[in-house]
């Protein structure tokens, strides 16, 4: 690994801003891609970071929701949101011109790779931070292969966006409705990453665990984890996940991106 382009949030400045929704577009799986005007956050954001979003005009739900930054360009940040509950449903109902209260950029990002092939593995809604990463890699002239997995074709997200910046995009669906039938981790196995490969993965925990296993001999394997968060910036100690060496990792400040070797994969939660 070479340059660590991101930093711990505690050493930097965070922003809380009420920003305008500039655009809204539908994606697969009922997801919505929001474009927000958030210059302070856009300026600082790096792939892997997230924002904490207030998902109400009133008081319910109480807590902000963590959402990955799916890209940052000029003054804008992009969020891809899947409606799974009260908060994300509210977000998906926003219209251009509405306001959203956002804190960010939070957490660390992916450590950018030196040499070697770059493999981006997204399961389910893992694609957003990896799209941001793919775009930055492309800007840097580095090539990447994107593996996208989903339950079925209709639930795939950011496929075209990924294709625009990656050397190859391979798709797997559990029902076989698009690409290879099976899990995205099968694609990783098939690719048989070399020891020079840099693997970047985001998705459900069992998928990450399997990627970490397959990637044992890769040059590096970074995973982006999820945890319930109350604050998102290191104040509450709520976002702990068990560490490989005993003790806990804090997803919001030490992560969400971790070298896979730091994470306790057996019964992690």
């Amino acid at each position: 690994m070479t340059s660590r382009m991101t930093r711990k949030t505690a050493e930097d400045t965070l922003h809380k801003t009420v920003c305008r929704v500039e655009g809204v577009s539908k994606e697969g799986g009922e997801c919505v891609l929001l474009t927000l005007d958030a210059p302070e956050i856009a300026k600082l954001a790096v792939p892997g970071q997230f924002v904490m979003v207030k998902c109400t005009d009133g008081a319910c739900p109480l807590l902000r929701r963590p959402i990955s930054i799916a890209s940052a360009r000029e003054d804008k940040i992009f969020l891809l949101v899947q409606p799974v509950g009260t908060g994300t449903r509210w977000l998906c109902e926003r219209k251009a011109g509405d306001s959203i209260d956002v804190i960010g950029p939070l957490g660390n990002g992916f450590t950018l790779p030196g040499a070697g092939e770059n493999i981006l593995v997204s399961g389910g809604l893992g694609a957003p931070p990896l799209l941001f990463l793919a775009r930055i890699l492309a800007d840097m002239g580095k090539q990447a292969v994107s593996l996208l997995g989903a339950g079925s074709s209709s639930r795939l997200v950011l496929k075209n966006e990924m294709a625009a910046v990656c050397k190859d995009v391979f798709i797997s669906t559990e029902d076989g409705s698009e690409g290879t039938k099976g899990l995205v981790t099968d694609l990783v196995s098939k690719l048989a990453p070399k020891s020079t490969a840099n693997i970047f993965a985001c998705g459900p925990l069992p998928m990450l665990a399997r990627v970490a296993e397959i990637a044992e001999k890769a040059s590096s394997c970074q995973v982006s984890l999820e945890a319930k968060m109350a604050c998102g910036y290191g104040a509450c100690m709520g976002c702990a996940v068990p560490a490989a060496n005993g003790g806990y990792l804090h997803v919001c400040t030490q992560g969400p991106v971790f070298p896979s070797k730091l994470v306790m994969w057996r019964n992690p939660l």
Partner: protein, 309 residues
Amino acid sequence: MSRDTSRLKTDIAGMNLSTPLIAASGTFGYGDEHKGLCDLDCLGAIAAKGISLLPRIGNLPPRIHETPSGLLNAIGLENVGVEAFLEDKLPFLAKARPACIVNILGESFDEYAQLSSRLDGIPGIDMLEVNVSCPNVEEGGLSFGVDPDLVAKVTKTVKSATALPVMLKLTPMAGAKLAETALAAQEAGADAISLINTIGAMEIDIERKRPVLGNVSGGLSGPAIRPVALKMVFDVASMVDIPVVGIGGITSARDVIAFLLAGASAVQVGTGLLIDPDLPCTMLDGIEDYMDRHGIARLSDITGALELP
């Protein structure tokens, strides 16, 4: 900062606060996590994350869960321990303008004694806040705070180990005995009282047939508990003569004023800060507006000014 907070000044047991807003322990880390998110000058004091003698890694996750208008947490008092606190964390807190309250917790009287004497005389610390919600290992796991005798004994232990002002933080789990625990603390020499800590609670994931928290149960905070906290503050403030700091679900200037009217001299903001770290500044605007509209010159004129039917 440009805000003139002179009429917002308050005094708790000799500790001067520039505003009546205190960051509640466990919800503001060690005060240095918020770069850019909170103008610290809006806070009168910061109650640091609870400190124990030795570092604690905290509870098995999941540690938090949202409930209707509430936050359920079982952090397990994860903290760096008193030595690392003094080395790494205190310098920032001591330098910041808000007063520095160190929240301490022990599992035995001896731990409270050791912690208090270790913190005694250290520059930059303005007050100790004693968390008595912790399970008491000597007395079989029930928390110190539910028994007036134990509260008195903890208070005496801490008071005799330090010259710092001591604020006892009461737990709502004392139930009908709450006012008694407050009086016990006062008689044992406490300089102030803060309340409430979280209320014991749990939630279940019915699909997995398991508690949602790794620790099975936890403590409830946030707006859901505010009416309960407000009554407890009212009840205790009408019993004791020492200053009372109100805590529980405070998320607006209106809430701050309600707690002051009920008898609090200052308040702590916990869950509200986690969500909106800039809340203190918004609150000060609202408090000043209220004082203007009601022609109130000093904050202390609000404390206890509730009229009863």
